[in-house]
Amino acid sequence: MVTLPTSGESQQWVGQPLQRREDARFLRGTGRYTDDVPHAFALHAAFVRSPIAFGVIRSIDVRPALEIPGVIAVLTSADLGHATLTGFLDRDEFIKTAMPILANERVRFVGEPLAIVIATSRYIAEDAIEAVSYEIDEFDPIVAMDDAQRTPQPIHDEAPDGVLVDLRMFNDDELEEVLATSHVVVDETFRSGRLQAAPMEGRGCLAEWIDRDDQLVVTVSTQLPHQVRTGIAQALGLAERQVRVIVPDVGGGFGFKAVLGREEVAVAAAARILRRPVRWAEDRLESLTASFQGREQEYTVRAGFTEDGVLTGLAADIRCNIGAYSAFPFTCGLEPIMAATEFLGVYKVPRYASRSRGIASNKPPSNAYRGVSRPQIVMVMEGLMDRAADRLGIDRVEIRRRNTIRAEDFPYSGPNGITYEPGSYLEALELCAAQVEAAGWRQRCEEAAPGFIRGIGIANFSERNAYGTATMGLRRMPMTPGFEVAHLAMDASGDVTLTSGTCSAGQGHETTFAQIVADRLGIAPDRIQLRQGDTDLTSFGWGTFAGRSLVIGGGAAAVAARRLAVQLREVAAQLLSVDADDVELVNGHARVRGTGASISIDEIAKTVHFRSHLLTDREEYLLESHGSADPSGMFSNGCHAALVEIDAGTCAVQVLDYLVVEDCGVIVNPLVVDGQVRGGIAQGIGATLYEEASYSPDGQPLAGSFMSYLVPTAAEMPPISIHHLETPCYQTETGVKGMGEAGTIGAPAVILSALNDALRSRDAWLEHVPVTPADIQRLLALPTKMESS
């Protein structure tokens, strides 16, 4: 347990809806992204990519490409010393497989890089791609998860059955008996389609070997500066010090950049081999079809309920199509582990057993995408609640109420081995249900025009986040993420530079971190500058993912700020000849309680730097501090409701209205929280109604541009009203819980729930996403329950 902020310290900035400091540059187009970083001499890379999903490489002939004027080099796996990246978990249930930086011997998905071309322009590089010839003997590809059973040729020889990870973490000998004697057992299979996070800025990097520093400097669009450094250093046989990773503005990450791609390593290797700067910016085709995907999952579940709708037990068989390789560093175990561990959400489930597998296929590797498995498990849990409610004739809110973990249950320990700190699970449900009534949605359902059908959905869920080393250690990655270290330095003019190993992809860290520090130093947030994304500038850290930055990075910054505040008060005490305990930092001044004497913090800073001879009692020079944080991880929670309309004529679905109750502990900046919620819901709506990275049976990607990969636009977004609850979590000094993923997590469940409500007269349920108009048409064509009875 950490110490709480001392009483009397005013919290004037945390909680304020400060405009994001970043917005001015983002909105004016003056941000600096990787491809904006100028370099007069950089060469351009492009990749020769496999047009075949699965096969053996017989030969690659790069010579014709080398004859094109402007082509500097074409490198294959051998030229890179057959370098690989291996993302693995140190556990028996995990089969370790390597991902070659450039395909070696086999190709395993369409788009897999066979060679890297380096040329004086991207145009010439793409010409050279066409000049490279190769022979590939094709195998039947494994596209759907069930294909693995009928294809003799395994994707990785190490895993003949195609299963790279097979987790049976939760067992219960009595579960079958409990299910057998339950009043009803809901037995269903749910599926979710393959997605791509589709950030505005795709991946990209610029690599240059600098002799003076004996360093490879890699500017890269990533969420994980230090892990990219480690991966590149390992793959290229360099010391960590010899790789410097710089991350400028990042135009969206969403987990898609919580990874090290083989392309970045290949570009770094080329820069090192050629001793010339090389840059690469992926195009949308590469981004959609040859980078990282996720979320293709299937859940076969059996849930027992009593006559009163109380859950008795749950058995789940979870399968994730993890694509061709295990991604570095989070591995192909990511989705299966998350799904199995956090399945039970906000509900009390007395007995639980699950098997959770990651199955290889001839598709791009999967990696984290905002929410990682939680959008699915919430969709499944809420789907089970809706079905049980229907079968038992219990109101949908009431059945959730009967199963939800309540205030008096905390700290609650579930059969998944997790202890939940306090949240507002029931309160969120009640508030959301009340808001649905207040907003008159039932009335609006009745008012649908002829040919239109409306329904209301509700989903109550939690979002685990800010996993520290204690929790991450259970996963058994060779590197265990979790802590953060922050540094603060106040300069001679009283401005503060804060560094953090977290790394914003556009979330507004510069604003929110400054709010936390400002309160503790008694200065305005605009005096505090956050520096991030440079492995030579910040302490080692774990980057940004899973709602960790403001909790852990911000928590570390709070500790550092508190320590710097002590220094400021001590200097002030010396200068004012009072006791440091009597000094408080308020409004840019160190003020003596009770007397009114004060000195400006600017003056203190100036004195410390320029007239340190006056400060005879100080052991240290300057104004610098550091702090760290490593919470075990926590659950924020929320409840969503949606009002949807089906147009029976076009079978289109429109989300008419959307309600959110959100509890992420102490809110540092409500604008940022609401923005995260809205953006997440947009992605959730995309996952539910529009987006799918679909493939033909021979493994060809069918969604290679935004004409076919349908990211929703502002026109598809409903109005969203957001209500806040605040249950602080003092695993760090700020009381903050993470909240970056909640919107994405809740939306599929709630929209599916609403669609099933709208279609309740039909004797069929939607149990998959994305839901297409053709799906709706099929259900509408079914007889209604009244017609068939």
């Binding site: 991207r122 010409d127 076009t650 289109a652 349908l710 598809e716 108009p773």
Partner: protein
């Protein structure tokens, strides 16, 4: 996603454009707004050896009346048509500005041209549908002079037209104004090409529908006319239009491109719905 190498030429007259392409051969291509051609070049699905930029030809960007006919220059931007709502100019063709609004997004409409759209010949393109609906005559300028092709003969299959490589489309003459008209479209996402679209136009004489046209876009490889449904409506009295029958017949008459049965069934269902909606909307335009 960078185009293959190409040469660039700029033509300032129709004759120059035609002479250039005749000279450069079949591998060369005209470029107008570039909104279809450039994406295809970036994917290297099109790899012209040379581009002949026709956007600087002065006299092909105009909308004029010639008696009943509305004559539109091939370089007229979608956006220009969208904002041409002057009833004296557009009388009988009020559906054209409405149709233009369905084309992509504003930036696309400010660059893309009607001629480019008809040459690209996407089956769901609004101008392709309008050309058939209003019996357009498409005027081509080629090395051997001028010729005119009727819209009904223009579309030769997916993305293919009656024009030869060395012919420049210069003018689109919409010949049959109609009092009533409507376009009903569906795309999953705002601004996308239509999954299916149905356009309807007719006159009302003595309370009866005549000169009925119904065109279906996006479902087959070319925009098609729903002949049977047209016949069904021809002569119907305004108060007793068999909307149901027309919609069913339009839906039954199409052969969707989708091979997947559920998708094909869905297209038919859409055609039914959109035909219904287009007829209703067209009737409503007559009421005003």
């Amino acid at each position: 996603m960078k185009p293959a190498r190409f040469d660039y030429h700029r033509a300032s007259t129709t004759l120059e454009a035609v002479a250039l392409i005749d000279d450069l051969g079949e591998e060369a291509k005209f470029i107008a707004g570039g909104q279809s051609l450039v994406p295809m070049m970036n994917f290297r699905l099109a790899r012209p050896s040379a581009l002949i930029d026709i956007m600087h030809i002065g006299d092909l960007d105009s909308i004029q009346r010639d008696g009943d006919a509305l004559v539109v220059g091939a370089l007229t931007r979608h956006r220009t048509l969208e904002t041409s709502t002057d009833p004296t100019l557009m009388g009988g063709f009020a559906l054209l500005p409405t149709a233009a609004r369905w084309i992509g997004h504003t930036p696309i409409r400010t660059r893309g041209t009607i001629g480019g759209s008809l040459m690209h010949a996407d089956a769901s393109a609004e101008w392709c549908m309008m050309a058939r609906l209003f019996n357009a005559q498409l005027r081509l300028e080629g090395p051997r002079g001028r010729r005119t092709v009727a819209a009904d003969d223009w579309f030769q299959g997916m993305f293919s037209t009656a024009a030869d490589f060395n012919e420049l489309l210069v003018e689109i003459r919409f010949t049959t104004p109609r009092q009533c008209g409507a376009l009903a479209e569906f795309s999953r996402r705002h601004g996308d090409f239509a999954t299916a679209a149905v356009a309807v136009a007719f006159d009302v004489v003595d309370d009866r529908l005549c000169n009925v046209g119904i065109v279906i876009g996006g479902v087959e490889g070319v925009p098609v006319r729903a002949g049977e449904a047209e016949t069904l409506l021809e002569g119907a009295s305004v108060g007793a239009v068999d909307v149901d029958g027309a919609a069913r017949s339009a839906a039954a008459g199409v052969a969707p491109m989708e091979s997947e049965p559920r998708e094909a069934a869905y297209r038919r269902h859409l055609v039914d719905t959109l035909t219904r909606r287009a007829i209703h909307d067209a009737l409503a335009t007559g009421v005003q």
